[in-house]
């Protein structure tokens, strides 16, 4: 049972690609080996910036011989058929066997493939893996045709057992596999030979290479934490950066540095971002001051001066970077204190989307929307509008120009510097939230107003120009925006009538789109421009619209959508609401509310009020989970089915006139009484939005309905009784419809 060691030694592999590459190498090789008839006990892939390695243990030395039998044509078959069989098997007529079968004598081909040695198979599989390796980006170098992530220099491929090690015979475009590699680029550059994985790993360690990325990772964590602890600091967690750091070094040497006093007044986010983006430093926080006061850089080398030169150099580079940041910060503060007028003006020059105008246009729309939404979220309309006008100004600041990921964060600092109320400043920071599904949802009214306006404008904007997500394509992150709206509304229990928002926001976006369309010279577009100045209401019945639609459809299909959004927002709004409902189902599924329950609720009026929808669905979901739930559902459905069949057969609708005086049995009378009691309760509870009470009231119908169906035959020969019973069923259906469309619920 030999062990296999593979090493692909190259120039520096990008850190972000190493983890995938390890997995790909393991998969390609082990799949290939197994497919070729070998088995193995375990396989482990490792990497450093300069090497991908794979250790396969307990590989079989030979693949099993394969014997394959194929039945051919009868021996008296036409010559053509026999020739075809020979071609397909690669045998000659003499090599075929003749066997007597029931229907006569038949040719058989017996193909025997002997077992193959592991070296031959490994060579084949490894060459294929190298040639087809799925790097996200690969390159050529020199004059060769080979592609790899960066130039590939050498290959180790050895099979080793008790008897010794054997190099796998393989040459790929001039690189011949062997048993030698090199250590650390600077500390141990000489080549050395290895006899197997243990020898390889041990010698690499001596040659200052830590092969296992997990070991490098934990070494960095430990050493960084220890060094920070010595100063009473703690390392600011950053998993993304940590993973990258382990992929940038073969021999991690964390060094701790101190940030100069003159930079400590910079916002901590600026320090952290600048150090991370430019220099891949970990930040160290002083828990006593809450400030970031130090950094850890992870060097790749041990030096005679214990890293003093390296640290001094890094410190200098950091000082230059932070001087830039301080320069941006001070300039930005000056602009902020003077009212941010330049930035306001500057937003006109920033395109948001070619069809939706500039960031300044967008701010106008968001401001109007924030004002509109404000009462529903408990914010002051004037302040909400002001907050919306301030929220995007930092996009023009030098700091955000340098570090786009600081948008919002800087907005808050600059709004504070401008002397604006804290709530406005907080809204500038928080209006992008929530971004991810685990992101916190803002709760301050002003932040909620601007955050909602921001996301709703995005949604209505892209819906107005017909740029909706399709399949896996969602370039404008509209699903995320929709989820953001849902979480903002539900998290704050807001009663927001979305259609109202859509009807004002869609035309506003369409107007922006029209003015952009009209900026180009064509005659059609000029017509749009002149038309778009007329208020939408007057245009609805304007004959010109019809002509315009026609022309637009011919000229540019998307202009038609824009026009619909402008003049007939209902169509687009309905589509957008359906999109939000889809996202809502996904969101609620994670909270245990079934999609069919939501569908049953969405069929009710008010489905554009998401909080209402969820309250209804929650109560309904709970009721369906109680003892009465399933039976009640069955009863309601049975009533609806019998009614539907009778209505179809008779061609009439049974909806009115059930009369207790035609009640023939106690069960009928009891059902009349129960409905008389339940209907007003359900209606009142629904009006009061006391959904649990409504559910309790309808659940009280369960027993009378069950008893009714148990004892009474609806379709009796007595037409008067039948009609009365059908009308009674329609009262059951009606009671259900007060709550939801139970027909949509499965089960």
């Amino acid at each position: 049972m030999p062990d296999l060691l593979i090493e692909l030694f190259s120039e520096e592999i990008p850190a972000r690609m190493q983890s995938r590459a390890r997995e790909d190498l393991r998969r390609l090789i082990t799949d290939g080996l197994v497919e070729a008839g070998l088995t193995y006990r375990s396989a482990n892939a490792l990497s450093t910036p300069r090497r991908l390695a794979l250790a396969v243990e307990g590989l079989t030395a030979q693949s099993r011989p394969v014997r394959e039998e194929r039945k051919g044509p009868r021996t008296d078959a036409p010559a053509g058929a026999i020739e075809g069989f020979l071609r397909s098997t690669g045998l000659t007529l003499e090599q075929l066997e003749r066997r007597a079968e029931k229907k006569g004598e038949v040719f058989f081909a017996v193909i025997e493939r002997p077992g193959r040695g592991a070296p031959e198979i490994v060579a084949e599989v490894l060459e294929a893996a190298i040639r087809d390796f799925p790097w996200p980006k690969s390159m050529r170098w020199g004059s060769g045709p080979l592609r790899w992530v960066r130039p590939l220099h050498s290959i180790i491929a050895i099979l080793s057992d008790e008897a010794g090690a054997q190099v796998v015979p393989l040459t790929v475009d001039g690189i011949t596999a062997g048993d030698t590699t090199r250590g650390h680029r600077f500390m141990a550059p000489d080549a050395f030979r290895v006899t197997g994985f243990d020898d390889y790993a041990a010698k690499l360690r001596r040659a200052r290479v830590m092969l296992d990325p997990a070991e490098r990772d934990s070494a960095i964590r430990q050493e960084a934490a220890t060094r920070a602890f010595a100063r009473g600091w703690e390392i600011v967690a950053d998993e993304g950066l940590m993973a990258e750091l382990a992929g940038l070094v073969e021999w991690p040497v964390p060094l701790m540095g101190v940030i100069e006093d003159r930079f400590l007044d910079l916002p901590p986010e600026v320090l952290q971002t600048s150090m991370k983006a430019h220099q891949k430093f970990l930040s160290a926080r002083n828990p006593r001051t809450g400030r970031i006061e130090g950094f850890v850089t992870v060097a790749n080398i041990e030096t005679p001066d214990d890293g003093a030169t390296i640290l001094a150099g890094n410190q200098r580079v950091l000082a230059a970077r932070l001087s830039d940041a301080a320069f941006f910060w001070e300039n930005d503060l000056r602009e902020a204190r003077s009212g941010m007028e330049t930035w306001k003006k500057g937003l006109e020059a920033v395109t948001f989307h070619a069809k939706l105008g500039s960031q300044a246009d967008r701010v106008e729309r968001i401001a109007a929307l924030a004002r509109e939404i404000a009462p529903a979220v408990g914010a002051d309309p004037d302040q909400a509008e002001q907050a919306a006008r301030v929220a995007k100004l930092d996009l023009r600041s030098a700091m955000v120009g340098e570090f786009p990921e600081l948008q919002g964060t800087m907005g808050r600092y600059y709004a504070q510097a401008a002397g604006l109320p804290d709530a406005v400043a907080d809204a500038a920071r928080d209006h992008y939230s929530p971004l991810g599904p685990s992101d916190e949802v803002p709760s301050a009214p002003m932040s909620v107003a601007v955050a909602l306006a921001d996301k709703l404008d995005t949604l209505t904007g892209f819906w107005a120009i017909d740029e909706k997500p399709t399949g896996s394509k969602d370039p404008f992150a509209l699903r995320r925006a929709a989820l953001g709206v849902i979480r903002l509304v539900l998290g704050n229990k807001l009663r927001l009538v979305l259609n109202d928002v859509f009807f004002s926001s869609l035309p506003a976006n369409a107007k922006s789109a029209l003015s952009v369309l009209s900026a180009d010279a064509s005659a059609t577009r000029e017509k749009y421009a002149s038309l778009s100045k007329i208020p939408a209401a007057q245009l609805l019945h304007n004959e010109l619209i019809a002509a315009l639609f026609e022309e637009a459809e011919k000229a540019e299909p998307e202009s038609k959508t824009v026009l619909i959004a402008a003049y007939d927002p209902e169509i687009v709004a309905a589509d957008l609401l359906a999109f939000l409902h889809d996202r809502l189902k996904v969101h609620l599924r994670d909270q245990g509310i079934r999609h069919d329950v939501i569908d049953a609720v969405l069929a009710m009026p008010g489905s554009d009020d998401l909080t209402l929808v969820v309250n209804r669905a929650t109560a309904l979901n709970a009721m369906l989970g109680t003892g009465d739930g399933p039976n009640l559902l069955q009863g309601l459905k049975r009533a609806a089915n019998i009614l539907a069949q009778a209505e179809e057969k008779d061609g009439v609708e049974y909806s009115f006139g059930a009369d207790p005086k035609f009640a023939d049995t106690d069960e009928e009378r009891a059902l009349f009484a129960a409905l008389d009691a339940a209907e007003p309760k359900i209606s009142a509870a629904m009006r009061a939005e006391d959904f649990p009470a409504a559910m309790a009231a309808i659940a009280a119908l369960r027993a009378p309905i069950d008893a009714f169906f148990e004892a009474v035959q609806v379709n009796t020969d007595n037409q008067i009784l039948r009609r009365n019973r059908l009308n009674l069923l329609s009262r059951i259906r009606g009671a259900g419809r007060l709550i939801a469309d139970f027909g949509k619920i499965e089960g």
Binding site: W141, P151, L248, A308
Partner: protein, 331 residues
């Protein structure tokens, strides 16, 4: 062999320490350049002189852009003055200049030991990789203006980017076969680091003990101020727009000229046409600095320059400079 170590225990507080101490290190800006020149000359590169036109980077020199095309082997090194009008800071920013120098090495096909050759050049200017932390950090290079891209790294020394290291994959829309290896050093930044200077204008240009010692500022402070003003405030944009169109038209006209001259000799004119593409590119940069190019127009302008560069590349690959073999080279 290691450099003498005089910086023992300098530690954290001594942030301004010279990156590389030692009597053998370079003493001034021109020393760094001269050492690079000697080093690359010794490796066998033809040491060329700067191209005599305004360019944004050393890559624009035809010795790189055009010579990286075709099959003919090539090895050249040169200093290239580079102009980036938008980076002008009136000579006040310690690290930013509208006119600076790049050192450029281009070798085709890229030799297998290019990384080692490069590290040798760092040693030559006093950066010993046994004391410093030299790292190759992923950085893919792309020039939308030249229709070019490649894979490689930025080379970090103690956390500072000191060079760009690229294996060209495509130039002017043509696949590079063979692949050229390109090294670009930002000379001012590199020299400031080696010399331990905080502000570019304070950097000694010639030896500090020369009879007339000159700093970088003595040479360039005034020009930085003058060009910053001209770039940002004065350059005549209407005229520049006209020049852009002229360069574009002339480039096209040169490329459309018949391959044969009046005497019937085949003389395609890839280089004169490429000069016009360079010119258009620089004029675009000037217009950009004047703030007259909107975001949407930007892409269109870059596309126009790229079209010129590609057309020049298309012509160049048909010429002897691309397809021939160097004298003495056993093809």
């Amino acid at each position: 062999m290691t450099s003498p170590q005089t910086d023992q225990g300098a530690g954290i507080a001594d942030a301004g320490a010279r990156a590389t101490p030692g009597a053998n290190g370079p003493r001034c800006f021109q020393d760094v350049i001269l050492r690079l020149q000697s080093y690359w000359a010794a490796t066998g590169c033809a040491v060329l002189q700067p191209y005599d036109m305004e360019v944004g980077a050393g890559t624009f020199h035809p010795a790189t852009t055009l010579r990286s095309l075709g099959t003919r082997p090539w090895a050249a090194a040169y200093v290239q003055p580079s102009r980036r009008p938008t980076d002008g800071r009136y000579g006040e920013n310690p690290n930013r200049l509208q006119h600076y120098y790049q050192y450029q090495v281009i070798i085709k096909p890229s030799p297998p030991d290019l990384q080692d050759l490069y590290l040798g050049s760092l040693r030559a200017i006093g950066l010993d990789p046994l004391i410093h932390d030299v790292r190759f950090v992923e950085d893919d290079w792309e020039s939308p203006t030249l229709g070019a891209w490649g894979l490689g790294w930025e080379v970090w020394c103690d956390g500072m980017e000191v060079s760009q290291f690229t294996y060209f994959q495509q130039v002017g829309g043509h696949d590079c076969r063979p692949v050229s290896g390109e090294l670009t050093y930002g000379l001012e930044r590199l020299a400031m680091y080696v010399l331990g200077v905080e502000h570019v204008m304070d950097m000694p240009f010639n030896a500090p003990d020369s009879p007339i010692p000159l700093t970088y500022g003595d040479v360039f402070r005034q020009t930085e101020r003058e060009y910053s003003r001209w770039n940002f405030e004065v350059a005549d944009t209407d005229m520049l727009l006209a020049h852009f169109r002229d360069a574009e038209a002339e480039c096209a006209r040169i490329l459309q000229a018949p391959a044969e001259d009046s005497a019937g000799r085949r003389i395609p004119m890839a280089h004169p046409a490429y000069d016009q593409a360079i010119k258009a590119s620089h004029i675009f940069n000037l217009l950009d600095a004047r703030g007259v190019i909107s975001v949407t127009e930007r892409q269109a302008y870059i596309g126009r320059v790229r079209a010129l560069a590609k057309a020049c590349a298309d012509l160049f690959v048909t010429t002897e400079a691309a397809t021939g073999t160097t004298p003495g080279d056993v093809a």
